[in-house]
């Protein structure tokens, strides 16, 4: 329950205070969000599986976001930023989808 409240609080904070993001960071926000979503879905599924671990969750979240942004940054430097973004989104998208399916199986027993 607390994590969901935290998520809602974060969304509210972001919408209310509307923090300005430095320009150089802006291109990496969408990919960071996808990575964060992957970590959040993974954590939720692990909780349902009964193997949730706070340390693993925090580390996977941070490393996911940082690595995804780094990969895109590296791609931008090499001139393949768009393609690498696509690759990251595809891989993370598949994982999110798989985790969502697992969560669905847990919740609806189907």
């Amino acid at each position: 329950m607390i994590p969901i409240l935290g998520l809602a609080a974060g969304v509210l904070l972001g919408l209310v205070f509307d923090p300005t993001v430095p320009l150089w960071l802006q291109p990496y926000l969408p990919i960071a969000v996808v990575a964060a979503l992957d970590a959040v879905f993974g954590g939720f599924r692990a909780r349902l599986d009964g193997i949730f671990d706070a340390k693993v969750f925090v580390i996977s979240f941070v490393s996911n976001v940082v690595v995804a942004a780094l990969i895109v940054f590296l791609g931008d430097q090499l001139g393949v930023g768009a393609q690498l973004s696509t690759a990251v989104v595809v891989v993370l998208g598949i994982r999110i989808f798989g985790n969502a399916a697992a969560i669905r199986r847990h919740v609806f027993r189907a």
């Binding site: 409240l5 935290g6 609080a9 969408p30 964060a36 692990a46 193997i51 979240f61």
Partner: protein, 302 residues
């Protein structure tokens, strides 16, 4: 690492990579941590306060990230629209200003010519200069003229009805289009036939006018004119038509346009009115020997 592999057969690296991506949706670290706990004999992860707070904080960050990114995307779309609207407003304001200035220029030019006419008309020498000026203005297409003449219409070939607009050759046959050379040919033939003034689509041709091609458009005096091209020529219609049709180049153009479906019509008109050409640029000026007054000194530029 822990995903089950289908038995049998040699699997390529690419296939196993895809298998990993598709099968291993959960971070294996969770399973490893659970296994480590089981090895230590613990049943579940201990729900320490520190861990809970940390998880909540990470979730706050995730929510913040989502909200900020959403905001950014929305602001970007809105910003684009605002910028576009501002640019449109700018363009409108500038073109209004340009129109206003052009109007002012016309007024001032009329005033200048009236004043100079008044001054010159006072003396016989001035009268002679005035007559010369009038002739020169006629020649440089500086005055609007009306009179009988010829109206020649050139138009691109119509697209054939059974042409497939999607597949096949998307490019229209360039020979079915009016080229700058065709217009030049017509205009030259008209001058040769004794035309006194010529305009193309309402664009008066002066002695320095150029007819050129730029991409798809024909430019007359660097202003684009579009299909169909209406060439108006003032002069005696009968003489013009006779001379014009006798021109060998015009005859070959007529044959070509018949072959490729170009429209090439001409009609005698009782009353054509041609606008004045754009304001002539002052390109050279020279001192008058008779009067070296300060007022007649040519000024550079203009």
């Amino acid at each position: 690492m822990t995903s089950a592999r289908p038995a049998g057969g040699v699997r390529s690296l690419g296939a196993s990579l895809l298998d990993d991506v598709l099968a291993e949706t959960l971070d294996p670290a969770y399973a490893q941590a659970a296994a480590a706990r089981a090895a230590r004999g613990e049943q579940r992860a201990p729900s320490r306060w520190g861990g809970q707070v940390l998880v909540a904080l990470v979730m706050v960050v995730a929510g913040l990230l989502i909200a900020v990114t959403y905001d950014q995307a929305a602001a970007k779309a809105q910003g684009r629209q605002e910028v576009r609207a501002a640019l449109v407003r700018d363009i409108q304001a500038r073109s209004e200003l340009g129109d206003e200035l052009a109007g002012q220029l016309d007024e001032l030019r009329v005033e200048v010519s009236r004043t100079s006419d008044d001054l010159l008309a006072a003396t016989t020498e001035g009268q002679r200069a005035l007559d010369a000026l009038a002739r020169a203005e006629q020649g440089t297409a500086a005055l609007a003229v009306t009179g009988p003449g010829l109206l020649i219409t050139l138009a691109n070939a119509e697209a054939e009805a059974d042409d497939d607009p999607v597949g096949g050759t998307s490019e229209a046959d360039p020979r079915g289009r009016v080229q700058d050379g065709d217009l030049q040919l017509v205009v030259n033939a008209l001058w040769a036939a004794g035309a006194e003034a010529i305009s193309i689509n309402g664009q008066r041709l002066g002695p320095t006018s150029a007819i050129r091609f730029a991409g798809e458009a024909v430019l007359v005096d660097f202003r684009p004119v579009t299909n169909p091209y209406e060439v108006r020529a003032i002069g005696d219609p009968d003489a013009l038509a006779r001379e014009f049709l006798l021109d060998a180049e015009v005859q070959s153009l007529a044959a070509v346009s018949l072959n490729f479906g170009l429209r090439f019509d001409f009609a005698k008109e009782e009353e054509l009115s041609l606008p004045a050409a754009g304001s002539p640029e002052l390109r050279s000026a020279e001192l008058l020997d008779t009067r070296r007054a300060a007022g007649t000194d040519p000024t550079p530029g203009g």
